[in-house]
């Protein structure tokens, strides 16, 4: 299992990388952490004519505070660096909670936040978390840049709005508002495996303890992360209770996901897992929101 031949470019600046993508975007692939791309190249499932390696771009490896309590993360920031960043929990409790579930330490030492988002694997944790947190992404091209909300970024199975000449360069995550709690849950067959199903949940309470708004993003249940808006809608304006979580779980599991089934999980089993994960995640997210309100 060896990759097919390719031309290799390792630009030393973002500008140089953008120039290369302007010229070769249609036949070139960007190499970030390589932890998804290199395996498929080893299998020759991908045979890009050119790799543009972003690993020399120190300018895309950063974590810095932004405005209004946000954090800005360079696309080439590796998962291990994020895992060791003690402040991450304050800015994005879901990302902080999710990172230990992302593959194994050896993988997290290479894999990057921007790479995982651009790859848009429906089983990956980072896209679901960014959707749940309302992240924004900065996409650059030689002629300019644009900001895209996570909501608009993911388009389907390994599909995003990224144009061939564009590079995702930065991710912005805003600190959750007050009285907000979240919970990240997944079930995998072994530590570090792809999840059979997972959820990133976030709940905001009113000052009287009633649920103001909720967000439930499921992953590894279809061809892209699923924003379960109907289940979340059932929660808004209601007093937290086990019966309420059950109603949301049924809504999400029965109506909002459409699992096709794999050798490891039939559609029915996936629905069962989504129900279990919804109940667990909502109970924990509400508890955390109550603690944050106290």
């Amino acid at each position: 299992m060896k990759p097919a031949p390719f031309e290799y470019e390792a630009p030393e600046s973002l500008d140089a990388a953008l120039e290369l993508m302007q010229e070769h975007g249609s036949e070139a692939k960007l190499l970030a952490g390589g932890q998804s791309l290199i395996p498929v190249m080893n299998f020759r499932l991908a045979q890009p004519a050119m790799l543009v390696d972003l690993n020399r771009l120190a300018e895309l490896d950063f974590i810095r505070p932004g405005e209004n309590g946000s954090v800005r993360i360079g696309a080439m920031t590796r998962m291990t660096r994020l895992e060791r960043y003690a402040e991450l929990e304050r800015y994005s409790p879901l990302l902080a909670e999710a990172i230990p579930f992302i593959a194994h330490p050896q993988i997290r030492n290479r894999s990057t936040l921007g790479g995982s988002l651009s790859h848009a694997d429906p089983a990956a944790e980072a896209p679901a978390v960014c959707l749940a947190e309302g992240a924004r992404f900065r996409l650059a091209r030689a002629s300019g840049e644009r900001w895209v909300a996570a909501n608009d970024f993911f388009q389907g199975l390994f599909e995003t709005v990224l144009e061939p000449e564009e590079i995702l360069v930065e991710i912005e995550l805003e600190s959750p508002p007050v009285r907000t709690g979240s919970s990240f849950q997944e079930i995998a067959r072994r530590q570090g495996d792809y999840a059979l199903a997972g959820v990133a949940a976030s709940v905001r309470l009113r000052d009287d303890g009633v649920i103001d708004a909720a967000r439930l993003i499921f992953f590894s249940v279809g061809d892209q992360p699923v924003d379960a808006t109907a289940a979340a809608g059932l929660l808004a304006g209601e007093t937290p209770s086990a019966a309420l979580y059950e109603a949301a779980a049924i809504e999400a599991a029965e109506k909002e996901i459409d699992p096709v089934g794999t050798i490891h999980a039939t559609p029915d089993f996936t629905r069962h897992l989504v129900g279990v994960l919804t109940r667990r995640a909502l109970a924990l997210a509400v508890t955390r929101a109550q603690e944050a309100s106290a």
Partner: protein, 169 residues
């Protein structure tokens, strides 16, 4: 075939250089171009962990890095662990003592995964060890003796760390 690139890197403290195609995996570069066959190649798609090496001190899978990407970086392979040809690294000693290997194919990957882990976790719990080795497959031991070996190594390292200053005095 694409034009070879020059790769200069430091392997186990020694500067090395070689020319290779961009598609050469770091695992193959170490084995075929540098003759360091202690790095074992199992699945070649990032699942088994046998090819784990240290890249700038952190464990990575050498089958998921191209050799050209290691240009200018520092690599440690299993050949670089022991302090001398007649000695073993403490962790190797503990694997031997606790019977942490049978066929030994996976062992280099386990060792390179665990050396930095023990530096960060000098007194690990069994659970922490099992999470740390979750990316390394072993088909012989059932992992129990590997976990025992890591606990033993941690104990040996802690007692030598305590004994260290006394010897210097």
């Amino acid at each position: 075939m694409t034009a070879p690139h020059e790769v200069r890197l430091t392997v186990n403290g020694t500067p090395r250089r070689a020319e290779t195609e961009p598609r050469t995996l770091l695992s193959d570069f170490l084995r075929h171009d540098l003759g360091l066959t202690g790095t074992h190649v199992g699945c070649e798609h990032g699942v088994c962990g046998a090819c784990t090496i240290l890249l700038d001190g952190e464990p990575v899978r050498s089958c998921l890095v191209f050799a050209v990407q290691a240009d200018g970086h520092e690599i440690t392979t299993v050949e670089g662990l022991a302090p001398g040809v007649d000695d073993l690294h403490v962790l190797q000693e503990a694997f031997w003592e606790a019977h942490g290997l049978q066929c030994g194919f996976c062992t280099p990957g386990f060792l390179l995964t665990l050396v930095p882990f023990l530096e960060r976790h000098p007194d690990p719990t069994e659970h922490e060890i099992r999470v740390a080795i979750s990316g390394n497959l072993c088909r012989c031991t059932g992992y129990q003796n590997i976990v025992d070996a890591v606990l033993l190594a941690a104990e040996m390292m802690r007692s030598s760390a305590v004994a260290g200053p006394t010897v210097q005095e």
